[in-house]
Symmetry: C2
Subunit: 195 residues, 2 copies
């Protein structure tokens, strides 16, 4: 994004140049209307340099380029889809892979230590701009962003409001319990040392 | 926000100092748990330096301070609520007031010229960081952000997805038609001259 730092006109030119030089070959997998942007499913800006979404499809690659991403934090256990991995390679985006099993209530076991490790990467501004995503951008991404909001000292009801905003009818009480119990103290220290 | 530029620890100290010096008197109208942040209804980050929400309540003032806002773009015809106006005065936030009547379908008449004037303020980075809000952060704010997304060359289906994300069950076909027909060309030029 960052539309307003360079004008859309200027940015259009820059992006086209960048596309041509840095990510030659991506054109072929982009949608038929190359001028228009299509953010991934459940896309949103979380904070300066931090975005969230579901799994990007080829149709979203042009949009992702406009974010000038340095890293992706991927939260599913499955290998990164081949087409997406090729896109990352061409665009020079580093993949941070934290495999968290997709789960269904009532047996939901969210690995706290993995979430903590993912948050360390997210807190490190050297990895920004950064996109956090799982498959649908609801539960795993929702939990990670919820823990980040606790670090930002958001009231729990506001953390849950945001979680519901993305999970909608698929919201899980177990995810909310996880976010409530998540202890941010060790990350506060980590964040302070990285910034 | 901008949690990750200064550590939460550092920021907490800075914010407390700022609160004490710049906005003395705000404590009295804040919620009982002053350490925790409560974003306004339907709050989200739109882009670098641009936020959206419903009408902030006193309980949200501490959170708004953390955004270091320079301006607010208010989209309702009613005078700005007295308590909010006092907060803006104390915090040194400039109010840009564009009165757009709240409407109900089927008779919805969105004043295109007013939306265009609001967008000029929003596009001007000298006004950032900036919060756009109406009453509930759904229709008027949704239309303005939708037009901004068109400027950012988002595909119309993505613009509508985002609009629906906030308007949910209250989404209006008339708003979508307005966004579809809105001509961004004059603003592209304006945006280029400001940035």
């Amino acid at each position: 994004m960052r539309l307003l730092e360079a004008s859309p006109k200027q940015r259009g030119q820059e992006t086209e140049q960048k596309d041509a030089v840095v990510v030659a070959g991506i054109e072929a997998v982009c949608e038929p209307s190359p001028q228009l942007m299509m953010p991934p499913l459940n896309f949103a800006m979380v904070d300066d340099g931090i975005f969230r979404s579901g799994l990007p499809a080829a149709a979203n690659f042009r949009f992702l380029l406009s974010l000038s991403l340095r890293s992706i934090v991927y939260l599913c256990p499955e290998p990164y889809p081949e087409e997406n991995a090729r896109f990352l390679g061409r665009a020079g985006i580093k993949l941070h892979h934290f495999g968290i099993q997709g789960q269904k209530e009532p047996v939901v076991n969210i690995p706290e230590e993995t979430i903590r490790e993912a948050l360390k990467v997210i807190l490190d501004v050297r990895n920004h701009p950064l996109l956090i995503h799982c498959k649908r951008g609801k539960h795993r991404t929702g939990c990670v962003v919820g823990c980040l909001r606790k670090l930002q000292k958001w009231r729990l009801s506001s953390v849950f409001d945001e979680y519901h905003h993305f999970a909608a009818a698929k919201a899980r009480k177990t995810d909310q319990r996880f976010m409530e119990l998540f202890d941010t103290s060790s990350l506060l220290q980590f964040s302070a040392s990285q910034c």
